[in-house]
Amino acid sequence: MRYLGIEPVKPRVGIFDFSGCEGCQLQLLNKEESLGAFLSALEIVHFREGSSEASDDYDIAFIDGCVTREDEVVRLKKIRSIAKLVVAMGSCASFGGVLRHRNYIDLDAANREVYGDKPKETGKTRAIHEVVKVDVTIPGCPVSKTQVERIVQHLVLGVPFHDVVYPVCVECKQKFNTCMFEKGTLCLGPITRGGCGAPCPTGGLGCWGCRGATVDPNLKEFKDLALKRGFSEAEIDERLAFFGGFEGITCASI
């Protein structure tokens, strides 16, 4: 795409992991048909999970995982001070992800339960943006590699990226699925941001909202229709809280 005289830049990229399952990083090594091109488009200078080389000179930092410990805060702030652009990759980085549940439990008690008289250092879960400024957010548990690729293209070509604004239902319908609600399963599809390709309704799980709220979701109607179909407030709340993307939204607050 050099026909406009615009040279794609090859950004120096660092990939960093915080608390999480590292599944998002792993996605970076998926999609083998374009893996070579993906890795060549970037100059990956720091990627612990994939490479032994490490450098502290990078333009873009991809961050997966959330912050749960003080040493992570220090590390994150250092990354922010170096990187020109910080990309929060995945639901943990974007909203805390499933680890948000830790904020609803007594961590000291948990520590005692798991480690007995040798408790380990730990703290509340925080999303990346709660600690440092984030420039681009790619939610998803895990992120979709296709979407990561697209963002990388935008970075390489220097054009702004806009995430999809429609809910998961659009892509779900395009997969010819019968709606989960018809099958008696709760699904957050109507209020969750699309772009994932609706793998969860397609698989039979129903959407759990890992990509967070869509633009202008109709929460009120969603709550009404879910209650009308026999799902309890507790169930709906549990679902909304699952990936942290609906933080603060509960049946009571809608």
């Binding site: 599944g23 998926n30 070579g36 999970e49 032994s52 439990i105 948990a110 480690y115 799980l205």
Partner: protein, 424 residues
């Protein structure tokens, strides 16, 4: 000659999660040598409390980005055991295929992308792209196929979407199954090439007497459920897993340590091979022979070889399973689930070894108590002891810090540790 050696690897690379290697040798005497896990505790077991049974598998899948399918399956198996659910035939096969997809995916990632660079003297798989493009392409092909297989049978490569309590959520389309089967057939050629590559690896000649624990095969190479077996002769039913793992907490690690007949034991591909080699597909057995892997091997670097052998075995088994599934045709994929109070436990052989989940449910099917024992947790003590032994072996040779560091790293990497998983 006075020999002082220091190894201080902070956040070992090309592994999942955060771990450190620490070795101090003074005057040729090993003062300290250990493996430390510094991953942050996430408390999945505590987060599980109060969760509805339908969400347990979805939550626990997030323990690990590599073996999420294994976690989901262990969780589902545990739940089904507690509720007395028997899953339909088709679902059983689809689940096993999902499992195999994960094994292939994880083994190819580890063996070809993360471990191979060590044996070729490279810092990562990225320079492989230019130095050995055919190896890179081969690795990509094998992993790509495994990913697509996982997508097909589990709904998604990472964090599966079609594995449900009671069965599975969808029947993979026939055309796609046929296509994956044909591709698996073709991939056997790639595996032959991979064998040639692995044959050239200079495997360090290092052994340490170890107890190996795995599921016990009855008629097949075991993957999901069954008895537990150790090379030291322990043989116990699945539900007595606690007696098999004996977890304990230590100071310098956020992961627990485990032991059985000795001070530590090992799980994983090598353990499975050592215990169940006689159920291997003949071609897999040939590969074992070709790369010089013989049971019972006590060389931890042989984990890599066992992974290759398993890839061949699993590929053959998957082809067979897909054919069976196609013959079965469409039909029931899931049974209704009636939650009830009870207790269940499930053991699954994930790529890195046996994974145990154990839940207690209340009347509404909510988790009251949960325990998960992760393969890497079981391996951690063994890794540490291996490092100690390794340090001792090299203490009086003309090894440099860098060389010892590299070989120690390779040793840990051979276990393919899933560190964040071990601290869950």
């Amino acid at each position: 000659m006075r020999i002082d050696l220091n190894v201080d690897v902070k956040h070992l690379t090309r592994v999942e999660g955060h771990g450190n290697i620490y070795v101090r040798i003074r005057d040729g005497v090993v003062e300290e040598a250990r493996w430390e896990v510094v991953e942050t505790p996430r408390f999945f077991e505590v987060m599980l409390k109060g969760k509805h049974y339908t969400s347990a598998g979805i939550l626990t899948a997030r323990i690990c980005g590599i073996c999420s399918i294994g976690h989901a399956l262990a969780s589902i198996r545990t739940t089904e055991a507690a509720f007395g659910v028997v899953v339909p035939e088709r679902a059983r096969r689809i689940r096993l295929l999902a499992k195999h997809g994960e094994t292939l995916q994880s083994h190819s990632l580890h063996l070809l992308f993360l471990a191979t660079p060590d044996f070729l003297g490279l810092p990562s798989a990225i320079p492989l792209m230019t130095i050995a493009p055919d190896v890179f392409a081969l690795a990509g092909r094998l992993k790509g196929l495994a990913n697509r297989m996982s997508d097909l049978f589990a709904g998604r490569t990472t964090h599966p979407t079609s594995l449900l309590v009671g069965g599975v959520g969808r029947m993979p389309p026939l055309k796609e199954m046929q296509q994956i089967r044909d591709e698996l057939h073709k991939s056997l050629d790639d595996l032959r090439v991979a064998t040639e590559i692995v044959q050239k690896f200079k495997i360090p000649d290092f052994t340490r007497e170890t107890e190996f624990v795995s599921l016990k095969g009855e008629r097949d190479y075991p993957w999901i459920g069954g008895n537990l077996l150790s090379t030291d002769g322990v043989d116990k039913p699945e539900r007595e897993y606690l007696a098999m793992t004996n977890e304990y907490v230590i100071d310098h690690s956020t992961s627990k340590w485990a032991k059985l007949s000795r001070e530590s034991f090992a799980v994983g591909a090598l353990a499975r091979f050592n215990n169940n080699h006689r159920f291997l597909h003949p071609e897999a057995w040939d590969v074992a022979h070709a790369v010089g892997l013989r049971p019972v091997s006590h060389n931890p670097f042989h984990h890599n070889l066992a992974q290759l052998v398993e890839m061949v075995h699993v590929t053959h088994e998957s082809i067979r399973l897909i054919d069976e599934l196609i013959d079965l045709g469409p039909g029931t994929l899931a049974v209704p689930v009636e939650p009830r109070a009870g207790e269940g436990m499930g053991a699954v052989e994930v790529p890195r070894g046996i994974l145990y989940h154990h839940y207690v449910f209340d009347d509404d099917g909510r988790v009251e108590k949960a325990n998960c024992v992760i393969p890497t947790t079981q391996n951690n003590a063994n890794i540490s002891h291996d490092i100690e032994e390794l340090a001792r072996t090299y203490a009086n040779t003309s090894t440099t810090n860098e060389e010892l560091s590299l070989i120690a790293e390779m040793l840990v990497r051979a276990y393919d540790p899933c560190i964040s998983c071990s601290v869950h």
